[in-house]
Structures are given as C-alpha cells and as structure tokens.
C-alpha cells in the first residue's frame, strides 16, 4: 500500500497532498499518516466526499488513515480525486513512502521564498556543448521551481536575457517560479543591446543599480 506521510504539516497541506495522491490512476489503497486532529478530520472529509472509505487508527500520537474505494462501483470520480474504476496494477503494491517536506502554513506564503538571488549571465548552463547547456539550464530552472524554497529574485544579464524573451524554452518554469513569489528581472541595457526589448515574455526590466542592490541585500547570490 502506498503511504503518504503528512506528519508536521499544517492545514490545508495534508488535503492538498492527499488530493494529489488520490488523483493518481490505478490507486487502490492509500495510507495517510497525520499528527493532528485537524489534518485527520480534513483528510477524512476530503476522501469520504470523493468516494473513499476511511479507516482510522491512532497510536503514539499519530493517526493512520487507510483509504480504500467506498464500494462496488460507488466510488465517485470527480475533479481533484479520482477513485479507481477497477483493479489496480499489482506491480504498484510494494510499499513506498512519500515523505512530505517540513510544514508551510500556507502555500504561496512569502515564507516559501528565501533571501537568495540567482544571477543568470548566459542562456546556457556551464561551458561546453551549447545544446547540452540549454538542456541543463532548463532542468536547473525546473528543479528550482519545484524546490521547497524559491529565490527572492532571478536576475538575467548579458546573454541570460535570451531566455526571458521571444520563444524561450524555459518560460513555463519561470512562470511557476513567478507564481511562487520569485521576481524575474531582466537587465534593460542587455535587452537593448540584443534588440530584445519588445520581446520580453516574462518578468520585468531592471537596471544595474537595482541589480547591485539586489545582490548586496541577498542572503546569498548564486551565479550561473
């Protein structure tokens, strides 16, 4: 049985994670571990309301909620959580645990942003093959966007502005970062120099004074 460990998580995070876990096709049982009554109540409600039966067992201050489909064909599938229609692939039965990260009271809360600044000076990551470099840049920004805490700002300077403009392959990752609270800033002089000023597709234009200030205020600066 798949196990979702939601210890240490404040509401509504356990429901968000249960919702995501239940949306996985072919799931036939899920155990959710929570350590507070609010999370137990909320996960129970969500699951029950979306066609799952919940068995609850409490020991050592933890609540173990076992979610199974509510009954023959009665599992109602709707947005957010999909109950399985029939049997599930047996290969998935081996128990594995998804460990939830530390608690954040609210998603999109400013605390999910740390004090760091990432300075991106080229459209590619590292020196070497350009195609590989572009790929690495994309996966770096993807991983950054999925990190527990995102940087306060990403500053794009010199050739870096090529990936905030036009048909950039990393627009989606930058959008996700922006939604999570990261400021996406492109150097105005650089945009001018490359003739890209009217092609900016994400974030805002900045100048060298603001770049200096951002770097000086940052808890750390990561330069690519």
């Amino acid at each position: 049985m798949k196990v979702l460990d939601c210890r240490g998580l404040a509401c509504p995070e356990p429901v968000i994670r249960t919702r995501a876990a239940l949306a996985e096709p072919g799931l036939n049982a899920l155990q959710v571990i929570v350590d507070n009554d609010a999370a137990r109540g909320n996960v129970t409600r969500f699951a029950t309301n979306h066609g799952w039966r919940v068995a609850s067992e409490s020991r050592d201050g933890l609540h173990y909620l076992t979610l199974t489909p509510a009954g023959e064909g009665s599992a109602s599938a709707d947005s957010g959580a999909t109950a399985p229609a029939g049997g599930s692939p047996s290969g998935q039965a081996a128990g594995f645990t998804i460990t939830c990260a530390a608690a954040e009271e609210l998603i999109n809360e400013p605390a999910a942003v740390d004090g760091s600044v990432v300075l991106i000076t080229a459209p590619v990551f590292g020196r070497g093959d350009e195609t590989l470099g572009a790929k690495l840049m994309s996966s770096f920004l993807y991983a950054l966007a999925e990190a527990e805490r995102v940087p306060a700002q990403i500053l794009f300077v010199n050739g870096g502005v090529r990936i905030t403009t036009g048909d950039t392959p990393v627009k989606e990752h930058l959008q996700r970062l922006s939604e999570r609270g990261t400021k996406i800033m492109s150097c105005g002089t650089c945009l001018d120099y490359y003739g890209l000023k009217d092609q900016l597709v994400i974030g805002e234009v900045t100048n060298m004074y603001s770049i200096v200030e951002a770097c000086q205020r940052a808890t750390r600066v990561i330069t690519l």
Partner: protein, 299 residues
Amino acid sequence: MFRLNDEIALVQTVDFFTPIVADPYLFGQIAAANALSDVYAMGGRPLTAMNLLTFSPAVLAPEDAGAILRGGADKVAEAGAVIVGGHTVDDERVKYGLAVTGIVHPERVWTNAGARAGDALVLTKAVGTGIITTAMAAAAAPREAEEAAIESMRTLNERAAELARGAPVHGGTDITGFGLLGHLAELAEASRVDVVLYAGAVPLLPAVAALAADGYLPAGLYRNRDHFGARVAFAPDVAAELQDILYDPQTSGGLLLSLPAPEAERLAARMRAAGLPAAAIAKVAPGTGKITVREGMLS
C-alpha cells in the same frame, strides 16, 4: 476602555496577522478593517491608528510593503480616522495590522455582557472566511467564493455600527477567531443567558458548505470546537458541514448585536436595505451560558 470624563471614554485595540490573500494591497485593507472592527464592536468611533508591520526585504519587495501600507491607509481614511505613526520590524514573516484608538460615550459602550433575555441577536456579515481562505491556500476555492470572502473581509463594520447606534442595542461583540459559536458562547457566559441559534438564518458566503464537506477546514476551527463544544448542543437535523461552519474562525467578521427581539428584526431589515448581509439569527433566553443550535429560521 478608559474613562476620560462623563462624556468620553477611550477605547484602544490592536490586531495584526500574517497574509491571508496574495495581493498586498487587499491584505492591507483586510488587516485594517479587522483592526478597526473592535472599536465599532464597542460602539465607538476610531480616531487614530498606528501601523505595525514586520517584513524583510528578502521576502517582500519594498513596493509590496508600500502596497500593504497603502491598503491600510485607505481603510483608515475610509473610517474617518488618521494614521499617526507606526513601527516596522525586520522579520522573515510578513505581518501587518494596526493599533487603533477611538472614543465612545461611557454610558453607551457595547460589551458582550449586555445581552438580556427577550433579545434577539443580529449578525451583520456572512460567515465562512476561514474555510474559504483555507481553500484558497489549496487552490480549491471557486472564484466567486474568493471574491465574496475578500469583499466581506475588507468591508468596515462602520456602516453596521452606525445603523445600530440608532437602535436600542444592549450589547454586542464582533466575530473573529473564535467563530460564530465561540463568540456566542462568550457572550452567553458573560451575559449569564442562554442562546438559541437558528442555523438556517445565518448568512453564509458562497460555496462554504461544499468546501467544508471537502475538508478545507482551518486548524482554528477544530480548536474552537474543542474549546467551546461542551457549551453547545446541536439539534440532530443540523448538517455536519453547517456545524463546522458555525465554528469557523473569521477574519474581519461582522458585528453581533443584542437588542429586543422586535427591534432586532427591524434593525436587520434596515441593514439589508443598506446593502449589508445582516440577519436576526438567535434568541436570548434566561440561562447559564448554554448555546442550542436549531435548524431553520428564527421566527
């Protein structure tokens, strides 16, 4: 409350909290409406306010901090009060609110100890902001619910208080963190009365029942139920979601005013005519601080 002379008493109150909406200007407005509410709940008028803001430049851009303060300032101006100062502290976590000073006539202070048997209680805002903001944090709130909750939270209780001053109000409070039932229980205990709440009469924000059924309940709701549950008895036909909603902690909730039952109906009608979602929701009876919740409307 501090009595200055026979005509004027000072009322002072402070409240601040972490952001509950993403937009800094709206957050400022909500925090200010919430902080000002206490003065209105005592029957007073706010005169001055002082900002309290914590943030660090690493987590909040200076222009966003400016937007929070602008939101607060606009609300304070709307209330006819002035901001006379404030204090900012460097903190990883953003918090904003105000310390508010107002005046009230010492003989006309509303407290939660003033309800009398034979009164009815008028609630001036719809309930459900805690559940909706929890659902918003999980990206599960319908837009309509989100907008209604934000609009409700940033609405000053000024207009409601003004209309209530024209009625024979015995006492009152405002609905905040303890939820409707928690504040009702406090009022019943302080006034040494029992209260019968008519669940069907309580105005609700859109989609609240569906979101409650889906488990988007803030932790504070569970705490309220644990803390006040022993004093509350529900009739068997009150739906589980509705029971939860009545314990939902509110941000910048409405006023709860106690006045003779016939007057309460008239005041609620006047408030509705002025565009407020007010309703007479409960009856006050002789007693010892117990709350009974029934299905249906107050008649």
